[in-house]
Amino acid sequence: MAEEGIKAVSVLYCGVCTFPPEYCEFGGTLAKCKEWLEDAHPDVYSRIYSEDSLAKTTEGLSLEAKEKVEREIQKLQAKEATKAEKELKKKLASKVIVKRVERSKRKHVIAVSGLEVFGIDPKKLAKTFASKFATGASVTKNVEGKDEIIIQGDVGDEVEDYVTSLLEEKGLDGIKVERTEDKPKKKTQQ
C-alpha cells in the first residue's frame, strides 16, 4: 500500500452540501444535491444513484426498517427545507443601512450596518473600502452590539453603489440598501 509514489487522490465534493457525494444522502439536502450532481458530474451520479447500487445498500434491511429509515430521511429533509426557506426570507426582509453621520459642520463619516445577514465579512469589506477611497475605515460595534463599518469621509454614494454590486454578485439582487442621515443633537449647555 505504502509503496513509493503514492498519488494524492482528489475527492469530489458536492457543490451543495460540501460532503463527498456518497454522503449526500445523510446531509438533509439530498434533492438539491442530486440535482447538482446530475448536472455537474453525470457519471458519478449514475454510479451512486443507479438502481442496483441503491438495492445493494438496502439489501440487508427488513421492509419495516427500510420504511422507517425512509420516513426519517424525509422528515429531516423537510426540516432542512423549511430552515433554508426561513433563512431566505430573513435575508429578503433585511436590508443594508448606509448612515451618514455628521462629525463637524463639514465633515461626515459613513456607517454601514446590516451586513452580517448576507454573509459579508465586515473586516474585509472595511479593508477594501479603506483602499478604495483612500480613507480610514474600521469595524466597530454599534449600539445594538452588531458590527458596523465606519468610513471616514463623505462617501455615501460610492459605498451604496459598491454594496449593491456586491450583493448582486452574490445573487441577492433586490436587497434594499437604505440611506439615512443622522445628526447628533446639539448638546444644550447647562
Partner: protein, 182 residues
C-alpha cells in the same frame, strides 16, 4: 468536539511556522504515521509555509494554503484532517463502521463497539493500542467520514463489544469541516 466552532470566536492567533520547526514537525509526523513517509514532501513541501492557528482549549491547527492539514491538542498526537485523509486514504490506520452508524457519527456521536464489530464493519488485523488515531470509513462508501482516537485497543473492542470504542475527533459537516480560512 467541533460542534461549535467558528472562525471568529475560537481562533486566537495565527503564526507562521519556522522552517526548522517545520522540519522537526515532519519527522514527528512520519514517526506517528510511517506510511506517510513517501508523501510527506507532497503534503508539506520544503518551500511551503506552514501556518499554525491557535484556538481555544489549547488546540492548534496546522494549515497550509488555507487548508487544515493536522490538528493537535496540547502535546497529544497529531490528528490528520478529513480532507487530508481523503487525499491519502491509505496512509493512515483505518477502521470501518457499518451503515447504521453513519447517521450517528455525522451528528457527532462517538462510535460504539457494536458498530465496529457487526457484519458490515471491519477492524484491522493488527492490534492498535489505546489512543491510536484512526480514519473512519463506512460500509459501502469509499471516502472517510470521520477521524477518531481509539478509546479501547482493537483487541478490547473485539472482546468487550460494549460502550464507546472510538472517540470521534472530527467528522464530515462539523465546525472544522466547514471552517473557511482566508
Amino acid at each position: 468536539m467541533f460542534k461549535k466552532f467558528t472562525a471568529k470566536e475560537d481562533i486566537h492567533s495565527r503564526t507562521n511556522v519556522k522552517s526548522s520547526v517545520q522540519r522537526g514537525l515532519k519527522t514527528k509526523l512520519v514517526e506517528q504515521f510511517p506510511k506517510l513517509e513517501s508523501v510527506i514532501d507532497d503534503i508539506i513541501p520544503k518551500k511551503g509555509q506552514l501556518i499554525v492557528i491557535k484556538c481555544t482549549d489549547r488546540l492548534s491547527l496546522y494549515t497550509m494554503d488555507n487548508e487544515v492539514l493536522f490538528l493537535q491538542r496540547f502535546d497529544d498526537p497529531f490528528i490528520p484532517s478529513l480532507r487530508l485523509i481523503h487525499k491519502y486514504p491509505n496512509c493512515f490506520p483505518s477502521v470501518k463502521v457499518d451503515r447504521g452508524a453513519i447517521k450517528f457519527i455525522l451528528s457527532g456521536a462517538n462510535i460504539m463497539c457494536p458498530g465496529l464489530t457487526s457484519k458490515g464493519a471491519s477492524l484491522p488485523e493488527e492490534d492498535y493500542p489505546v489512543g491510536t488515531v484512526v480514519a473512519i470509513f463506512a460500509e459501502g462508501k469509499e471516502t472517510a467520514l470521520a477521524v477518531g482516537k481509539l478509546a479501547m485497543s482493537i483487541g478490547e473492542i473485539k472482546k468487550v463489544n460494549k460502550g464507546i470504542g472510538i472517540e470521534v475527533e472530527t467528522h464530515l459537516g462539523d465546525g472544522l469541516w466547514s471552517l473557511e480560512l482566508d
